[in-house]
């Protein structure tokens, strides 16, 4: 019986204009979106090389610029890569960082770039709604539901067949979209998108997670369809829920978090840091002045004075790093807490949860961004400060000559690149919310359909 209903439903879905027009529309949208993303990625990779060469030429023992490398999965989900600073100037004598430059991208505020995440999370979920809203209500409209249920068939079987009849074509479309998108990105990125085995596995995991979202959406459609009598009403209820949960709620989350969990303005935090920096700089200069006068009076040699100068510098560098580092860390904690609140609010939306998971899978999420910030700090502490100070201590500024080898030699910054299991573990929380949402919606649709009175 399951097969009979399934094949009938599949035939109906297969020839429906909705599916065919969705296929055409998706193809039309996927092609330019993937092309733009491929070109954009190519430009970012070229920019990265340019920026690296500029920053390396200008690095010195006191300050360097660190740039976040782009992950090959960024064209599939841009995430936070576009919207947060990816270039940091770090100093050896201060824990502050600043973001020296940023491209002007005003159009992204009105219309963010379309990536694979948008196509799946917004458009494919909408298609699923379009296909499922009439699953039960459509049969009721036509009056055929009572005949289907009059046969020797359990309601669960009917429901399972109807759900499967939507999920199967949607899965085929999902595979088509992902393959088309990947092909366009690979072809037009000029060879810059080089997907490793781990990245391909991540893309596979992306499809599984996408399927979870689509199944949850299909279950929502069936649940609504079973609770109303007319399919047009079902469609508008589904569409309203979809608009609020997919489009509006994720956007509101961060703003609501900044209302519930306010943090001081960034410039105020910066002001505190600047005033502390100035205070410490004045204190250090005072000590240098005193020492310089003392050494001059004692008529010591310049090499001895240089060693003494370096001791004072080291002491103040450590003190500034400690005191400013505390302020910077406090601020980061506040921002992290606010982001946590924003996450908790946004995760009620399956689309936001989907984006969170994709952020971890593609390495473009906020978690990955925070990991990069931690790597920058670690690099500063363990690589730049010791080597920068070592270089400085080898210099002899009183000779007015530069050693040709007198350049900062640093090992490159290794951005964290976790394996697929690590990426999935980082996405455990939003992923479990997605799975829970899917289970709740499926159970709800079963319960609602079991109790549905077909006589009315």
């Amino acid at each position: 019986m399951f097969r009979t209903i399934l094949s009938r439903e599949l035939q109906e879905t297969g020839v429906s204009p909705t599916l065919l027009s969705a296929l055409v529309a998706l193809t039309i949208l996927v092609l330019p979106s993937a092309y733009i993303q491929a070109r954009y990625y190519q430009r970012v990779v070229e920019d990265y090389a340019v920026r690296q060469s500029i920053s390396q030429a200008e690095d010195n023992s006191r300050t360097i610029v660190l740039i976040r490398p782009i992950t090959p999965l960024a064209p599939f989900f841009n995430g936070a890569y576009d919207s947060l600073p990816d270039e940091f100037r770090v100093w050896n004598d201060s824990a502050t960082t600043n973001t020296p430059s940023g491209d002007l991208t005003p159009l992204d505020w009105l219309f963010p770039k379309i990536d694979l995440c948008f196509i799946i999370g917004v458009l494919l979920t909408l298609l699923t709604i379009l296909l499922t809203h009439g699953a039960i209500a459509g049969d009721r409209d036509r009056g055929s539901l009572k005949f289907i249920l009059a046969g020797p068939v359990r309601r669960r079987t009917v429901l399972a067949a109807k759900l499967t009849a939507v999920i199967l074509p949607v899965t085929v479309i999902l595979i088509y979209v992902v393959l088309l998108y990947t092909t366009v990105v690979m072809v037009f990125s000029g060879g810059t998108v080089d997907l490793s085995g781990s990245d391909l596995n991540a893309l596979g995991a992306l499809m599984v997670v996408a399927l979870t979202v689509l199944v949850a959406t299909a279950a929502l459609g069936v649940a609504v369809s079973a609770s109303v009598r007319r399919s047009s009403v079902s469609l508008f209820v589904c569409a309203s829920i979809w608009i609020v949960t997919i489009l509006i709620w994720p956007s509101l989350g961060p703003y609501m978090a900044s209302s519930f969990k306010p943090v001081s303005p960034p410039e105020a935090a910066q002001r505190d840091v600047v005033s502390k920096e100035k205070e410490l700089i004045h204190a250090e200069l005072a000590e240098h002045r005193k020492t310089a006068a003392d050494l001059k009076e004692r008529q010591v040699g310049v090499e001895f004075a240089w060693r003494r100068y370096l001791e004072i510098r080291r002491k103040w560098i450590e003190r500034r790093n400690e005191e400013i580092g505390r302020l910077v860390e406090e601020r980061r904690k506040q921002v992290r807490d606010q982001r946590g609140a924003a996450r908790r609010i946004s995760l009620l939306s399956p689309y936001a949860a989907f984006r969170e998971v994709l952020g971890s899978l593609c390495g473009t999420g906020l978690e990955s961004y925070d990991e990069f910030l931690a790597a920058v700090e670690q690099y500063r502490q363990s690589e730049f400060i010791p080597k920068g100070f070592d270089l400085r201590s080898r210099q002899k500024p009183w000779l007015n000559a530069t050693d040709p080898d007198d350049r900062l030699q640093l090992r490159p910054l290794q951005a964290p690149s976790p394996a697929l299991s690590g990426r999935l573990a980082a996405a455990a929380w939003p992923l479990s919310i997605l799975i829970a949402e899917m289970i709740v919606l499926i159970v709800s649709s079963v319960v609602i359909f079991e109790r549905c009175d077909v006589r009315v």
Binding site: P106, I281, K296
Partner: protein, 461 residues
């Protein structure tokens, strides 16, 4: 005519009452009020945070900078230790109307240094993850909900009559078919726009009373014009709904077609337009600009080094009287090209997006709010003209003794620091949004006429 008018109104009134009785209108009112209030609250707090941020930054500009050093003078040599620590570069004040239409205002939350060249810092990363999604402002809520609700009121306008068999009876009356379409359009428009107007009015009152925003008369005119644009946008979708209703006989099919049309028009068309604009007008990235400037600088430095091999250490900027202004000119030209390409891309994006209703609403509302393309272009123009003032002072200072040159530079810095971006005048905003209004009018008229034309040919038998 009077008789026709009264018939139109009679049918429209019946439809409006039916919409109220079946809870469509109350649901629309509650949903729009809730979401507009939520949006206004979130965006007003966002505006306040950004305003605080700006005022802290402005106050910080007056703090003294540290620029001091110590010299270790010993009998067998000397070395010095210098330290400089400045204030964060200035940022621009946010616009109060960003609480209704944020537009491109968030992009201007960045520190910009204006000297011989313009250095754009990265923008602030707050509110946390805010830039990851669309800003949930009034324009966004209207774009999504007004269109959907408009279709909800109109898509079954004809199909319901066809399914119930009442259309035949109605058309047997001495009644023109276009009058029927007009009455349906009027009923759906009133059913949508009345709750929308009340919800929007509540939102404006909330912003005025709770946040002290939009208090001036000009602000109210702008708010009214934004409502007008939103209302016109709603009418477009009402006509699209009625058109769909005339080409199909069943409400179920009409509903599916309407949602498909909605997704295409609201979600896909404007995005595709912006994608097209990006493809048609590619712009260099800021890194490419930096690389170009650096390359020019290094070339000049190389020439200087070749001309004077005795020079010990290569300086970071040219030192000769001829090369300094030459580098200034190269930097000016490259930066101007970069800004011009951004402006051009923004204009193309607006032009193409204006061809679709959702794009016309987004760009038109941001133009009216002073947070749109023209406001952004004038923001860039402010830096460009400030840079010219600085360059002029720098060039003049080259021929003067250092004291006088320093004085001229200080004066120029003071002038640049006091320059503020003005809000775009209402007249200019209106002119910018004319294309958006025209586009929406054209869409509304086209689908209204198409619905009439289709319905005139409908075989009622």
């Amino acid at each position: 005519m009077d008789c026709g008018g009264s018939r139109i109104w009679l049918i429209a009134r019946k439809e409006i009452i039916a919409n109220v009785r079946c809870f469509k209108t109350p649901v629309v009112f509650v949903a729009m009020t809730l979401l507009l209030l939520l949006s206004a609250h979130a965006l007003a707090i966002d505006y306040r945070n950004r305003l605080n941020n700006w005022s802290v930054n402005r106050d910080g500009q007056r703090n003294p900078v540290v620029n001091d050093g110590v010299s270790y003078d010993l009998p067998d040599g000397s070395f010095s230790h210098g330290m400089a620590f400045g204030n964060p570069p200035p940022i621009e004040a946010p616009r109060p109307f960003s609480a209704i239409v944020k537009g491109m205002d968030g992009e201007m939350d960045r520190a910009v240094i204006v000297r011989s060249q313009i250095v754009f810092w990265a923008r602030h990363d707050e509110p946390a993850t805010g830039a990851l999604f669309y800003a949930p402002d009034t324009s966004f809520v209207v774009k999504l909900l007004a269109s959907l609700f408009a279709m909800m009121f109109s898509l079954d306008a004809m199909t319901r009559e066809k399914e119930a068999g009442t259309l035949r009876a109605m058309l047997s009356q001495p009644f023109r078919r276009r009058e029927l379409i007009l009455s349906k359009s009027l009923a759906a428009s009133i059913s949508l726009l009345a709750p929308f107007a009340v919800a929007y009015f509540i939102e404006i009152i909330y912003l005025r009373l709770a946040h002290g925003l939009l208090s001036g008369r000009e602000d109210m005119v702008r708010a009214f014009l934004i409502f007008g644009l939103g209302a016109l946008y709603g009418v477009v979708f009402i006509h699209i709904g009625i058109f769909i209703s005339t080409i199909t006989g069943r409400t179920k099919i009409a509903a599916t077609m309407a949602l498909g049309a909605w997704a295409t028009i609201v979600l896909m068309l404007p995005n595709v337009s912006v994608l097209m604009a990006k493809l048609l007008t590619p712009t260099p990235s800021y890194s490419q600009l930096s690389a170009r400037l650096r390359e020019a600088r290094m070339r000049i430095l190389q020439e200087e080094a070749e001309a004077d091999p005795a020079a010990r250490l290569p300086p970071s900027r040219p030192v000769s009287r001829q090369n300094t202004p030459r580098l200034y000119e190269i930097e000016r030209q490259a930066t101007d090209d970069y800004i011009a390409s951004k402006n051009n891309q923004n204009r193309w994006a607006r032009l193409l997006a204006d061809l679709s209703p959702a794009g016309a609403l987004t760009f038109g509302a941001s133009d009216l709010a002073g947070t749109g393309v023209d406001a952004y272009n004038s923001y860039l123009e402010l830096f460009r003209s400030s840079r010219d003032i600085m360059l002029d002072a720098l060039k003049r200072s080259l021929d003067l003794p250092s004291q006088e040159g320093y004085k001229i530079l200080q004066e120029a810095r003071g002038t640049v620091a006091n320059r503020r971006r003005l809000t775009e005048p209402l007249g200019a905003c209106l002119r910018s949004s004319v294309i958006s209004f025209s586009s929406l009018l054209a869409w509304a008229a086209f689908f209204g006429l198409a619905a009439c034309w289709r319905f005139e040919r409908y075989d009622v038998r």
